[in-house]
């Protein structure tokens, strides 16, 4: 069978795992170009005005990938209650309206049994699909976990380093992600993780400095995709803030796919944590945002950065409740509502003001690093930058 060129939406470093799984299955993966202002403008041109940012950015990704030539597009589906589950249908209609006849495959819980679901793949891969599936899933999963381990380690280590070492750390993070991305086997992944451990061991720590601890919560795509949040995590890290991010790709797969398939109530802990303010699942990451903010309040974090697309419904609930939590617990909460018009300078200025606010005697952030120029050249190489 010919190798079909497949593409998928950019969603931060999660793309590394998706690319690996699709390649192993037998597709020629075309990674969409990095998301830029132009991507958002392109996507926004053809989507409803009040649709949320992820719809626009992913459609922009597809249109740019189509320029490179693809045979089919993969997208995740869903069953609500947030809008994400309808993206696939809406985008398919929009692309059709624009004259793109490319098959659009929506991956979601199969309604008509697994046979129908697998048929989506065997149509392009033939029966070889069944043979390759376990290996593809395993490789994708291992890469997802490795990427998360790199990212978590970097966030944990950064606060303990001097400014120039933080810069080196961030470059090393990029190198490690590239290594994982190009790994063709589990052994190669483990080699990359070994390189990570060596770097961690070698970096000189300065334990005497206390940093402001900031928690980052919000909607999945705008937290994971640096291009949508102005590379917030990188900037905060370089500015010497201790960042705790609450959404990681492998965790999300584990919770929403593995645990859900097993019927486990993995949200119980979140509900208990969010209890006085939010008592139930409201779709998306609304419950997580509230639960983690309360956790931040109880554990003495200096502040919370809340990232959400404008109009995101679960996050509007969270927005309302986070303001109350912030007021009640004296915890600074910065809610950034993002759409295609949000300007980088404006967002960074607000973050700078926020860091001034959360500072005080514990603050030793070097704020000038907040405005550091992000390396765009590197972004072109790996899916997840």
């Amino acid at each position: 069978m010919p190798r079909y060129r497949a593409t998928f939406p950019r969603m931060g470093s999660g793309g590394i795992a998706i690319k690996a799984a699709l390649t192993e299955l037998g597709f020629d993966v075309v990674t969409p170009p990095p998301t830029t202002r132009a991507t958002l403008t392109l996507g926004a041109r053809y989507t409803p005005e009040f649709a949320c940012l992820p719809l626009k950015s992913t459609l922009g990704n597809y249109l740019e990938a189509l320029d490179l030539g693809v045979d089919l597009i993969f997208m995740a589906g869903g069953v609500g209650p947030c809008r994400f589950g309808l993206y696939g249908q809406v985008q398919r209609e929009i692309l059709r309206g624009l004259g793109h006849d490319v098959p659009f495959i929506i991956i979601e819980p199969p309604r008509n049994g697994l046979a129908g679901f697998f048929a989506l793949f065997t149509r392009f891969l033939g029966p070889a699909f069944y043979r390759r599936l376990p290996g593809a899933l395993l490789l994708g999963w291992e890469k997802a976990r490795a990427v998360d381990r790199v990212e978590r380690s970097v966030l944990a280590l950064a606060p303990a380093l001097a400014p120039d070492w933080r810069q080196r750390l961030w470059r090393q993070r990029r190198n490690l992600l590239e290594l994982i991305d190009s790994a063709a086997s589990l052994a190669a992944i483990h080699k990359a993780l070994r390189a990570l451990r060596e770097f961690l061991a070698a970096a000189p720590r300065e334990d005497k400095i206390t940093r402001s601890k900031v928690m980052v919560v919000g909607e999945l795509l705008v937290v994971l995709e640096p291009a949508l949040n102005f590379h917030l995590e990188e900037r905060l890290c370089l500015a010497g803030v201790e960042v705790r991010r609450t959404i990681f790709f492998a965790d999300w797969i584990r919770d929403n796919i593995f645990f859900s398939l097993l019927g486990l109530d993995w949200q119980r802990r979140l509900r208990a944590e969010a209890a006085p303010y939010l008592t139930r699942f409201v779709g998306g990451h609304g419950l997580e945002s509230v639960a983690h903010t309360l956790e931040a309040a109880r554990q003495g974090y200096a502040g919370v950065v809340h990232l959400a697309p404008l109009g995101c419904m679960p996050e509007v609930i969270a927005l309302d409740l986070l303001r109350r939590i912030g007021a009640k617990h004296n915890l600074p909460v910065l809610s950034l509502l993002l759409d295609e018009h949000t300007a980088e300078t404006g967002a960074l200025t607000r973050i700078e003001a926020f860091l001034d606010l959360v500072g005080g005697s514990r603050h030793t952030a070097d704020i000038s690093h907040l405005f550091h120029k992000v390396d765009g050249h590197a972004a072109a190489k790996i899916p997840g930058y």
Binding site: R83, Y277, G311, M313
Partner: protein, 353 residues
């Protein structure tokens, strides 16, 4: 608080407040029912149930400027207009009742959902209104409302409540609700289904009119005069026959369009698409007006899908999309509607188009 005797010099708005506010009974606790969100779908059930339980129902008046403005100040700007209006109604009732009926809306039909904001709403309300009692609406696969959350809520209000009394009230209210819905099938949309005389009718608001228009949208926009800027009243005054989502025959009420692979997981949203399909293909109307709230999550996508699907049918009717928020000006909206009606009249005159 004005009473009936003082109505002479009071403006019409305040008169409405008087008329809808029942004089407080001596016997039992007044509970405030907000005339917002799904009120127009569930009003028969709510008032019958609470009355059977021995509570006095105090319903807020139709939304007006005062209620809207108080609601705007109670939550974040990014919340949609219906939620702001709902909070305004609760603020109105907070001063006039001892408990507040705070509805929340969860899974429908075992699989679908209402919008996330309606799911999180009771929690939002609880932060501001300590008197709020949560009444959770969740229906199973047969469409039956789950009783347990309501029993818990009633126990809070009436400690020592016995299951038998509760079940009796539930049964009575359920019958009322079924009868109410049956009136929709006869052609009486929610605004008139309780008060109109018996028997069938071919139209809802204006019989024997020339142009037929389907006004589609969520009930808390279509039937709320403030939110819709008097849409139904204005169109009706132009001599138009109005048809709505609720009076679509039940067998067509959630039929999928040909291009739909799966039902929309918001049943309210699927009802919208199915109604559009019905009025565009089966019971053809001259035009469709779709009203949505700004920043309404579901409507942003549903409006897009509706527009595309309907345009692919044979000879679809023209579609006018109206988006409203708290800044919408009545005059501007009326101008657009007038232009739309002119277009429909012109099409009628030039039948070849």
């Amino acid at each position: 608080m004005p009473f009936f005797g003082e109505t002479c010099s009071i403006t019409r708005q305040k008169q409405r407040h008087c008329i809808s506010l029942e004089v407080t009974r001596i016997s039992s606790k007044p509970i405030g029912i907000p005339r917002s969100l799904m009120y127009h779908h569930y009003q028969a059930f709510w008032s019958r149930f609470l009355t059977e339980m021995g509570l006095t129902c105090v319903t807020s008046p139709p939304t007006d400027q005062v209620i809207l403005r108080s609601g705007l100040g109670l939550t974040v700007d990014e919340a949609c207009l219906p939620v702001k209006i709902h909070l305004g109604h609760l603020a109105y009732l907070d001063e006039r009742a001892e408990a507040l009926f705070s509805p929340g809306f969860g899974r429908q039909g075992g699989k679908g959902f209402y919008c996330p904001k309606l799911m999180g709403l009771p929690d939002l309300v609880r932060q501001r209104f300590p008197k709020a009692v949560e009444f959770w609406h969740e229906t199973d696969r047969r469409g039956e409302l789950r009783r347990e959350p309501w029993f818990r809520a009633m126990r809070r209000l009436l400690p020592g409540l016995r299951r038998r009394e509760f079940d009796a009230a539930w049964h009575a209210a359920r019958q009322d609700q079924i009868a109410y819905r049956a009136r929709w099938e006869e052609g009486f949309a929610p605004l008139r289904a309780l008060t109109a005389p018996g028997g069938r009718t071919a139209s809802t608001l204006h019989p024997a009119a020339k142009i037929r228009i389907a006004v589609l949208g969520h009930p808390y926009l279509v039937y709320d005069e403030q939110a819709s800027q008097g849409l139904l009243r204005f169109i009706s005054s132009c001599g138009v026959q109005i048809l709505t989502q609720e009076i679509v025959p039940r067998s067509f009420a959630d039929l999928l369009l040909p291009e739909q692979e799966k039902p929309i997981y918001w049943p309210l949203g699927q009802a919208l698409l199915s109604a559009a399909y019905h009025y565009a293909a089966r019971d053809k109307v001259d035009g469709i007006i779709l009203i949505s709230a700004c920043i309404c999550g579901p409507d942003a996508l549903l409006g897009e899908l509706l527009q595309r699907y309907i345009s692919r049918l044979a000879a679809p009717p023209p579609l006018l999309r109206l988006t409203v928020d708290e800044h919408t000006a009545r005059a501007g909206q009326q101008t657009r509607i007038e232009a739309f009606l002119d277009l429909l009249g012109w099409r009628r005159g030039h039948a070849a188009i």
